[in-house]
Amino acid sequence: MRDFGPAYGANVVFPKQLLINAVIRAASRGRAVHTTDRTTVQPEIEAMLNSDNYDGLGWSVFGESSSLDPITIGTIQGAIENLVRTNAPVTGDEFTFLVAAEVMRRFAPSLLVITFSDMEVAHFGSYSLHVAGIRTVDRLVYELWQQVQTLPAYSGKTTLFVLPEFGRDQDGSTTNGFFNHRQDSDSTRLTWMMCMGDAVRQAQIVENPIDQTDICPTMAQIFGLGRLDLPGKPVPGLWK
């Protein structure tokens, strides 16, 4: 694996938080965002991007400061320009995808983890928006795979894992069904995973349940990292 970031720690970017904070900051300063004109949004996001603690979480991305370094800012600015140019629906996941695509183009990291979350609108009780969020991610994952095919750094040597972080609570539960994921039940624990690309031996369906803790050892094996002190075990039968 190539080395990125101080002490080889992961580089973390929160695109959705950046968008949220930019929109809220603009509103709190009396500049409600007129969203028919995307170019008016661009300076709001860039102002937030260049401020300290852009994510509102106080995470330190590089070194002690929670502000971003110039290379990363340039990467995200590229994504912002794409966001403004595109006619795609403007959601947090759309922007997350654009930042991820820009990171792939500029840094080509060996390991890239992307978290999408539009479907988490379920917590607010709109099933239709929950499903719309799932459909958005479905499309973005397809576009991500297309991106993998077009970039020489990734084409033919990339394995893509797609998995929900968890399921949802059962209808009729005291935890209000699909709104939440608090139950200790199969409906929250038993989900699915799709695995495609270089490491996959052949098209198949693996019915035997695996644990989420098996995913890290699986990836470690793909990278040829040998035995690491990790919980879980590599998923059998995936690679060539």
Binding site: I24, R38, D118, F124, G125, S128, L129, G172, N176, G177
Partner: protein, 422 residues
């Protein structure tokens, strides 16, 4: 107010005070980690609905009925567990449930075991208290949900998700008139039971995404009536405050406590003036999340579910409504006030509102099925747009209508009133 009732109020307050002092003394006999939730409920005694007060009183009654040796034996495993968890070294708040308490407990390696033990003790004490309560009269109940005319549901599919628990039926025309018939005039449900006319009973609830049901409130002064639309000034202010909640547990606890005790007087709608218990219910509702502050249909579902759990009313009418399309950019800040962060006008989203409302109406019914009162509950969900309905009768009871023939809205009204009068 007559002189007799004027005297009753202070007498009742004195009796309540004396009873609460006794209850607090009994709660002090419990293991430390069991005290916060009971103490919090006792502190809010006046804000509890009659059903909650009766149920809460069973717990100290149960404690009182257990001889000290029995209570000691019952709680010994939990006290041992608390010692293993190191509770005595925690900064554990005993008079109310806090996020700080919850996080201390959840981080303990004994958490799962602790939950099981607490559950076991609660059940045993409650059972001891319950034995001393005389059985209550049983009467029919109505759970009516309205999918308004503005929501275009598909009558061929909308009832399929109701687990075949009931029967579809067709309404000949103008099903929207059902609400008027039920809530207005001498033939309305307000005249069918003394309890429904008694504000103290909390036996009649009207929960509305819009403001239609509350327009009948003058004919039903005893109704607990909540409208998402009419609560707008309060919701906006409350949401703005909620968005200042700190991400730290201590900070969040402080702000949530402050929000509970804040003076919101100028933000409440006039309809809720003098209804401290109902206002407290709304604050509890908004603090418990589940989208009640954000989407009108989530408000209706969660308010109705919570009212069923806390008040066990005889009549619950829940009316769903329209939500706007999420606006670009604001959809990523969904917990913000959409009007404030975007200058674009609101645009209705009827098709998706109908999907949400149909699913959430079923959720209200599922919530009702969790309680023993459901055994006497007649559930109806009406689509005004499709002039179609779904009815679930208690076990053994059968509705009068078949899927093949239509009924008039007057017949549906008469059927509901007869169920309540039975």
């Amino acid at each position: 107010m007559t002189s007799a009732t004027m005297k009753e109020v202070p007498d009742k307050q004195a009796a309540d005070l004396s009873r609460l002092t006794l209850y607090r003394g009994l709660v002090a006999r419990l293991p430390v980690t069991m005290r916060p939730s009971v103490n919090q409920q006792l502190d809010q005694w006046e804000m509890l609905f009659p059903f909650e007060q009766k149920r809460l009183a069973e717990f100290p009654r149960g404690l009182e009925s257990l001889p000290p040796a029995s209570l000691d034996a019952l709680t010994r495993p939990l006290r041992t567990l608390e010692a293993n968890m190191g509770v005595e070294h925690w900064n554990f708040v005993q008079d109310s449930d806090t996020m700080g308490n919850a996080s201390l407990l959840a981080r303990s390696e004994y958490y799962a075991e602790w939950r099981r033990e607490v559950q076991r003790v609660f059940e045993a004490v409650n059972a001891a208290g319950h034995e001393k309560v005389p059985s209550q009269p049983r009467f029919n109940r109505i759970l009516l949900m309205i999918l308004p005319e503005s929501l275009p549901v598909d009558p061929t599919t909308v009832w399929k998700q109701w687990d075949q628990a009931g029967e579809e039926f067709k309404i000949a025309a103008e099903s929207r008139r059902l609400i008027e018939l039920l809530l207005n005039g001498q033939l309305g449900i307000g005249t069918r039971s003394a309890n429904l006319a008694d504000a103290e009973s909390s036996d009649l609830w009207l929960i509305d995404a819009e403001a239609k049901l509350c327009s009948f409130a003058s004919a039903l002064p005893a109704a607990c009536s909540l409208s998402y639309a009419i609560l707008k000034p309060f919701r906006d202010k409350f949401l703005a405050e909620a968005n200042t909640v700190s991400k730290s547990i201590q900070g969040a606890d402080q702000i949530l406590t402050a929000m509970r005790h804040q003076d919101w007087t100028r933000w409440w709608p006039a309809d809720l003036a003098g209804q401290a218990r109902l206002r407290n219910f709304v604050i509890d509702l908004f603090l418990s999340g589940n989208g009640a502050l954000i989407f009108s249909n989530a408000f209706v579902e969660w308010a109705a579910s919570e009212a069923l759990r806390r008040a066990r009313p005889r009549v619950m009418i829940a009316r769903f409504g329209m939500r706007s399309r999420p606006k670009p950019f604001t959809s990523i800040a969904i917990f913000e006030n959409q009007q404030q962060v975007s200058t674009l006008p609101d645009v209705d989203d009827p098709e998706n509102s109908a999907i949400d409302a149909a699913i959430l109406a079923r959720y209200v019914w599922l919530a009702a099925t969790r309680y023993p009162e459901y055994e006497q509950t007649y559930t109806l969900c009406i689509s005004e747009n499709a002039n179609s309905g779904y009815v679930i009768a208690p076990a053994g009871g059968r509705p009068l209508w078949s899927r093949e023939s239509s009924v008039t809205v007057e017949e549906v009204h008469k059927w509901i009133v007869e169920r309540l009068s039975a």
